[in-house]
């Protein structure tokens, strides 16, 4: 994966993760043009498009567009699954996640993404393991004394898992 962008229906960027080195100016240009292109597409259209020399895979969940740019030899359908998996993770973590959660807790959205994808590739295919790792890392952050060891088997209280705002498709 070359990059992932999350943006609202008004074109406001909510998250950007770049896995290729580009200057700030280039990133802004790509973001602006791609957002325009994706927002111009009608609802029932194909989730894949060829843009510049990249393949773009995007999917809309409620008011947020999740947009990835993949290499030419990558499997588009599995990328859709990756996007879906990320949304599921966000949903489990925030409990019925909606756009506001991602706005006010953007750094956590990044932490979750970094626990799921590394260098543009999926690092953990089990949802449970990703969530467990995040919980443990959060616990670590809570502890002021850094030397404290983590207890095995400590679980955070269960998150409510109804269908979330983001899943209204």
């Amino acid at each position: 994966m070359q990059f992932m962008l999350l943006f609202s229906r008004q074109g406001k960027l909510r998250l950007q993760k770049w896995y290729v080195p580009l200057s700030d100016k280039e990133k802004k240009k790509i973001t602006r043009e791609l957002v325009q292109t994706v927002l111009a597409r009608k609802p029932k259209m194909c989730s894949f498009l060829e843009w510049r020399d990249m393949k773009i895979v995007y999917k809309r969940y409620a008011s947020l567009y999740f947009c990835c740019a993949i290499e030419n030899q990558d499997n588009e359908l599995i990328t859709l699954e990756i996007i879906h998996r990320y949304v599921e993770l966000l949903d489990k973590y925030f409990g019925s996640v909606c756009e506001l959660d991602i706005i006010f807790n953007f750094e956590k959205a990044y932490f979750i993404l970094d626990e799921f994808l590394l260098g543009g590739e999926a690092q953990e295919t089990s949802k449970k393991n990703v969530l467990k790792a995040i919980e443990q890392a959060d616990l670590l952050q809570e502890n002021i004394d850094f030397q404290m060891r983590l207890f095995a088997g400590v679980m955070l209280p269960n998150m409510v898992s109804e269908s979330s705002g983001l899943f209204q498709n």
Binding site: R14, K17, P21, M45, C46, F48, L80, D114, Q123, L140
Partner: protein
């Protein structure tokens, strides 16, 4: 994890700003506060500050002053600060920033930290933005982690290694042994990372690929486990067990089995199993099937398996989900060359997809349809394609028209059908056809001698309805000029004849001449057609005479020249007029090799990557020049009628072309004139300003190579020094500038500077060059840029 209150307050404040201006104000205040905080000593709120800054950065505001703070935070012992610091590094620092090197040491330390979550942060950052130097420094660490750590770290280390190999290809060798041993792991995350790493290694190095071929049985085993195992809650997605891992393994198998019988045999059974057992009701199942199909088609699979794969694609084509249809067509495109018949079976569905709403699907369907056209289905396919053309989105029009022309060219069942098809295309999408269409069509028409009457009738009718499509109007004018007598005769077998008078025909041509919609080229066609009619009609010759004399004072130089020549034809050479303007001989197709010396024919290429077959005629026919040619035959010294060299460098090339095309016998007669006509590398002035002139001449060295010589001279009264030229060309063209003869231009043109530029145009794109001239004169520096669109001896458009 408790939310960061200061951060959330700031976000709220920014969001409540009602105007852009207000928002900027809030952000400026916040940034000032953040900067002040950064300067202070360590307080508890450092991570909050940096988080605020990162939010501001995401909104698009500058945040570079936070870079050093990121570096400091990464070095902090507190996990909360490290976490935000690394996030900041990934967002604000990229490998191009110098500050990124400063974190290398911190990363190195954190890679060996006792806490795995700290290690994880370091690995994540390295894999996201590690530069080549950082990768080289830290590669041994990563290798160590690959071998001896827990699975949480191993999986991350594997992907980090992938990034390192992408940045520094040579380090692949370092990771190969570790990657091999990772395949024995049970943890899916580690397996996945290992497979990605092995894919990367094999793609880069063929020897590594050879070595990893031995792992095919292990991979098959793992896949079998995934496909046949029961329900595993941890990795299950809609009934498929760990689809991500399955897709990766299939991809690796594809690479290992490509062009290798042994490996392909070993995976045959497995692929058949996956293809038949995978549930295809949900996207995830289709993702696995898609990868399987790609693998089957790319290895040396047995024919039964191939048929199975193509059938899966056929099923995809019928799927309701547009995404799946798109995927199917992309894959079919890849195999349409090799498994043509298999794809033909699905032609109906593919043609139906032409009517889909989605532009991406349409594009795919168009590509496939064009590839599937054959002699047996040409009529029905063309009907569909023409229907598509009428509702086609603008960005696909040019591609469709050229595709249709190619198909018509190759499989036309009859000449009349061919002409009809081209006319149909011109009327629906004439604005998007290529420049060569007009001469091609003309050549086609002259070849179909029995259809002249039919053609001229159709074209006349088309002309009456609409004169905005230049290509159509040009062809129509040409035909009316040539075959006007057939039109006036008022009888035709194939189509309903029109009853026109000579005045009507002349009216039509005059409308074209006078219309503001007509391009200069079109008006040229119309004028020549009018002239030709003077020998084919009987009553209104005077009207033609007056038209021609009016245009003798036209502003357009080309029209004026023609009108003057025609005038002369009326006045001084009236006795020759009939002979000169008689019917054109049948035009032969011009093959690329058949020119005089220089292959000018190949030089006239179109911008689009032409799917044209070899031997496509590149005719630059102008009836006027043809006329001049014939006149050369008839009399050697008609100065007024000789094409003056001032018409531009295009003319010598054209004359040579027409000489070779207008029948072999003319060649001999013109043989004596050729050396004179082949102007020695004409020099064209391309730039003139403030006394500095730049001229250009070029010489074709080969089919794609060209040497351009730029000569500069200075006609002012003061010397010019530090004269330099820089040149830029379109992307696919290669440019090599030789050393200039000097860099000073003495006053009053006493000496010149020449510079040679060697160009290679392998894709034969439309050649343009932008030259930047810089020099200093009388103490001040000058700079200017000029764009060169046409090169003497090379034609951009074919007329």
């Amino acid at each position: 994890m408790s939310p960061s209150v200061p951060l959330q307050e700031m976000i709220r404040a920014i969001r409540s700003a009602r105007t852009q201006c207000e928002e900027r104000g809030v952000i400026q205040r916040e940034c000032a506060a953040i900067r002040a905080q950064f300067r202070q000593a360590d307080n508890g709120g450092r991570s909050h500050n940096l988080a605020k800054l990162l939010y501001v950065h995401m909104l698009g505001y500058p945040a570079h002053f936070g870079q050093m703070e990121c570096v400091r935070m990464i070095a902090s012992p507190r996990y909360s600060e490290k976490r935000v610091g690394y996030l900041g590094a990934m967002m604000l620092l990229d490998e191009k920033q110098d500050a990124s090197l400063l974190i290398t040491n911190s990363i190195k330390n954190d890679l060996s930290h006792s806490n795995q979550y700290v290690q994880s942060l370091a690995l994540c950052t390295l894999a996201c933005m590690g530069s080549a130097e950082m990768c080289r420094d830290l590669a041994p660490e990563i290798d160590r982690l690959l071998r001896a750590s827990n699975s949480y770290i191993k999986k991350k280390a594997a992907l980090c290694a992938v990034h390192i190999v992408r940045k520094v290809h040579d380090l692949g060798e370092l990771f190969a042994p570790a990657a091999r041993s990772l395949l024995a792991e049970k943890n899916h995350g580690v397996l996945h990372g290992a497979v990605v790493l092995i894919i990367e290694l094999c793609e880069r190095n063929p020897e590594t690929l050879e070595r990893f071929r031995k792992t095919v049985p292990d991979l098959v085993q793992i896949m079998k486990g995934l496909v046949l195992s029961g329900y595993s809650p941890e990795h299950d997605v809609a009934g498929i067990s760990d689809p991500f891992l399955q897709v990766r393994i299939l991809r690796l198998l594809r690479i290992l089995g490509h062009n290798n019988e042994g490996a392909s045999d070993a995976m045959n059974d497995l692929l058949a199993q996956v293809a038949t057992n995978t549930d295809s009701t949900k996207t995830v199942g289709n993702a696995v099937l898609y990868e399987t199909v790609l693998t089957v088609l790319d290895i040396k699979s047995e024919s039964g398996l191939r048929v199975l794969a193509v059938n899966i694609l056929g099923r995809f084509l019928l799927n309701n989900d547009r995404n799946i249809r798109y995927i199917a067509m992309t894959s079919l495109q890849k195999i349409v060359g090799t498994d043509h018949n298999a794809v033909q079976r699905h032609r109906g569905t593919i043609v139906d997809c032409l009517k889909d709403q989605d532009a991406s699907v349409k594009r795919r369907a168009l590509e496939l349809s064009l590839a599937l056209v054959s002699a047996s289905n040409i009529r029905s396919m063309m009907k569909e394609l023409l229907l598509f053309l009428s509702s086609c989105p603008a960005e696909l029009k040019a591609h469709s028209t050229s595709g249709i022309f190619n198909a018509a060219e190759r499989y036309a069942p009859s000449q009349r059908w061919h002409i009809d098809t081209i006319l149909h295309v011109l009327t629906t999408a004439g604005g998007d056809v290529r420049d060569e269409t007009v001469p091609n069509l003309i050549q086609l028409i002259t070849n179909a001698s029995e259809l002249h009457c039919y053609t001229v009738h159709k074209l006349y009718r088309a002309l009456l309805t609409d004169i905005s499509t230049q290509s159509l109007v040009q062809v129509a004018c040409w035909c009316i000029g040539e075959y006007g007598d057939l039109l006036l005769r008022g009888e035709c077998q194939e189509t309903e004849p029109v009853q026109v008078t000579e005045d009507d025909v002349l009216d039509a041509l005059e409308t074209v001449l006078q219309s503001h919609m007509s391009s200069p080229a079109t008006r040229g066609f119309a004028l020549t057609a009018t002239m030709k009619l003077s020998t084919r009609i009987t009553e209104n010759v005077d009207r033609i005479r007056s038209i021609v004399s009016i245009y003798g004072s036209c502003i357009d130089v080309e029209l004026q020249q023609r009108a003057v020549e025609y005038n002369a034809l009326f006045k001084k050479y009236d006795h020759m007029r009939a002979a000169v303007l008689e019917r054109m001989p049948v035009i032969e197709k011009n093959s690329p090799g058949h020119t005089n010396g220089e292959s000018m024919g190949d030089a006239i290429k179109d911008i689009q990557p032409a799917k044209m077959k070899q031997g496509e005629p590149l005719l630059a026919l102008q009836p006027a020049n043809q006329v001049c040619d014939l006149l050369d035959l008839l009399g050697g010294s008609e100065e007024t009628l000789q094409p003056s060299p001032a018409t531009g460098p295009a003319v010598p090339g054209l004359l040579i072309n027409t000489a070779s095309t207008a029948g072999g016998d003319l060649l001999d007669l013109l043989g004596g004139l050729e050396p004179a006509l082949l102007a020695p590398a004409p020099t064209v002035p391309v730039y003139e300003n403030e006394g500095v002139t730049l001229t250009l001449s070029c010489e074709k060295q080969s089919d794609t190579g060209l040497t351009v010589t730029l000569t500069a001279s200075n006609s002012t009264d003061s010397d010019i020094s530090s004269f330099t030229l820089q040149a830029a060309v379109p992307k696919s063209v290669q440019l090599h500038m030789k050393a200039p003869s000097g860099d000073s231009l003495p006053a009053r043109g006493t000496a010149k500077v020449t510079q040679m530029v060697v160009l290679n145009n392998p894709n034969k794109v439309n050649l343009k060059m932008r030259v930047r001239i810089s020099y200093s004169s009388q103490g001040s520096a000058f700079q200017d840029t000029v764009q060169i669109d046409s090169f003497p001896g090379l034609n951009a458009a074919g007329h």
